[in-house]
Subunit: 168 residues, 2 copies
DNA sequence: ATTAATTTTCAGAAAATTTTGAAAATATAA
DNA sequence: TTATATTTTCAAAATTTTCTGAAAATTAAT
């Protein structure tokens, strides 16, 4: 396996992992491509490398930017827009966790909250059991939420710390 | 919102969350239904409650059993098979994490391992950068893997401890 | 052994998601 | 302003995933 083949393999695999992580295949592949590209790439280069259409490329690049793991890079004297991925894997992972927490965990919390407002005789055994399950889930989700928030907070501090050191 | 409505709401929501967690909607809904059912249910009852076909029910029940969060319950004098969900949310979460770790994290680890065997001049700057990225990912995945394994192990011990106390 | 009940399988249908490609919108240069 | 390059949008097409339902297989009773 030479370098080009290894890169190809990497992009393919990242696409497969992406799918099982609820991220669409192409989005993950573009991310992989940018992650191992020595330079920022423009839309045409991405389309060429992955053999995808312009619309597809555009849409998924935008989504990667929304997730905060890819950014636009402008080159002086070139009208095309270039794109570069955040290369620090830890930062990438933190951003993804943050995004997924927001999209997946937070809704669970508010839904469970809302369901607990059920207007039913609290003494009824069936009602009790149901509310108990909902409460358990809520507790668990809160713990997970706190743990993640803590991790993200810690990382932020670590980052701030490092940054401050650089400028002091 | 009365009890029946609340239950309906719960099942619907669980289905939505499931999708974003890479679990199919019906599978998640069956799980939700069993989670709040006072008694084990049979296939017909599940089909009726969720308005789904027999094939669909059968397939997703089997998958829930594979994940280890639902089990068959046999009732004496009844030829039908009944199904019950694990009610301890913590256990459910642990099982799901274990399963996802196996299906998603472990493959990342082995693929990165394999890619690092690339046959390319290690002094070349491009090769170096590529291998560095792959190594970073591998390190991160290993950390995540260890953290999860630790959590699962801790839980196992906690469980064993609790169980032992009960019987001693 | 025969019959009846129940579960499993799986090809095709339906639904959901992703992708294309060309037209419209936007931005830059001449 | 006009022309040209580039990006964005979005309806329709392609693909992937999920679901149905009836036939086949299995299990248990008579």
């Amino acid at each position: 396996m030479n370098l080009a083949e290894a890169k190809q393999q990497f992009i393919q695999s990242w696409g497969v992992f992406g799918s099982s992580w609820g991220i669409n295949r192409t989005m993950a592949q573009i991310h992989a491509l940018l992650l191992i590209a020595p330079e920022a790439l423009n839309a045409d280069e991405i389309m060429e490398a992955l053999q995808i259409s312009r619309g597809n490329a555009n849409m998924n690049i935008r989504e990667l930017i929304n997730w905060g793991i890819v950014e636009k890079v402008l080159k002086p004297g070139d009208r095309k827009e270039y794109f570069a991925a955040e290369k620090d894997i830890w930062k990438v992972a933190m951003r993804i966790m943050k995004e997924r927490k927001k999209r997946e965990l937070d809704p669970v919390l508010s839904t469970m909250e809302q369901i607990r407002e059920v207007d039913a005789p609290k003494k009824d055994a069936e009602t009790k059991a149901f509310l108990d399950t909902v409460t358990q889930i809520q507790k668990f989700a809160k713990q997970a939420d706190n743990a993640l928030a803590g991790l993200l907070k810690a990382d932020e501090h670590w980052f701030t710390g490092t940054l401050l050191k650089l400028f002091k």
